[in-house]
Amino acid sequence: MSKISAADFVKAFQKAHPKAVKSIESTDPRRANLVVNNESFLDAAKSLRDNFGFLMPVSGGAIDYPDDNRIQMIYYLMHPSSRFMLTYRVDLNRDDPNMPSLTPVWEAMSFHEREAHEMFGIEFEDHPNMIPLLLPPEWKGGHPLLKDFKGEGKQ
């Protein structure tokens, strides 16, 4: 896999997918942030893997912004030869958070999507095995990492 710097990647991706990109920036030679539209999310992910060489999934997680009524889902990807990290993000509607699963693209995102599902209530379409990862199966207390989670335990 050829080497590419984070700044070059930013330019190249913006050129390749001008419509998909909501915002893209590289604040640091080892970091790049990319926010894409909801619709072109899956295609952009496939392009990242196949054309840009982000072969290595690192992690995935979400963050809740109740004031803006959105949940941002973040995937952490690594470029194995040039060793910079891309945070690949998408904004979801907080009332009905659903999005296509990236498990078909990066297999190892399975655990992280399961975690985001139970912690934030995000529905992932086409996830092969959506069962709780960390919380007990009989858990009924809601989604703990949402900002309005108050309860402790079963309710």
Binding site: L135, P144, E152, G153
Partner: protein, 168 residues
């Protein structure tokens, strides 16, 4: 448990010297149980490396006859080592139920005792909501000396136990 023992006792109560015999049996049982505490290979949380050090070479709990065993059927003691989450607490209860009768529970560390550093967590419970605990050893993690002292307290407790004999 208690009722069965009481009927046994009632059957021979009129025989002279039965109290002494019961006390003798209790003494032997207490002695043997005291020196042969077999805790189960079971870790619930993060005090496990300290528990490993205690059963390891410098502190060597086998001096007291404490020998960890693999299967719950053969064990006498659950050492709840470290934080107990909701998912794990059920398993602690299952294990306690599966264990053969003279059975003891030792809570090692601050987390099973109260909730320790995770006091404000939604997923952590105190273990004594689920199983009865004999000895609490506080600390995060407790020092090896504290764990050994806790086991010695358990030994004292077992030695004084009167299951069929005359209770003081």
């Amino acid at each position: 448990m208690m009722t069965e023992e009481q009927t046994i006792k009632r059957a021979f109560d009129n025989v002279p010297g039965s109290g002494a015999a019961y006390n003798l049996i209790d003494f032997i049982a207490g002695w043997s149980r005291k020196y042969s505490i077999w805790p189960i290979h079971f870790v619930t949380g993060c005090c496990s490396p300290e528990f490993m050090q205690v059963s390891g070479s410098r502190y060597d709990m086998e001096r007291l006859g404490v020998l960890p065993f693999a299967s719950v059927r053969q064990c006498d003691c659950i050492m709840v080592v470290g934080v107990v989450s909701r998912k794990m607490a059920l398993r602690v209860k299952y294990l306690y139920d599966q264990m053969g009768d003279p059975k003891y529970v030792v809570a090692v560390g601050a987390c099973p005792t109260g909730k320790g550093p995770f006091r404000d967590s939604y997923a952590v419970v105190a273990v004594d909501d689920y199983v009865p605990v004999d000895i609490y050893i506080p600390g995060c993690p407790p020092r090896p000396e504290a764990i050994i002292y806790g086991m010695m307290l358990l030994q004292e407790k077992i030695k004084k136990e009167r299951r069929i004999g005359v209770k003081d």
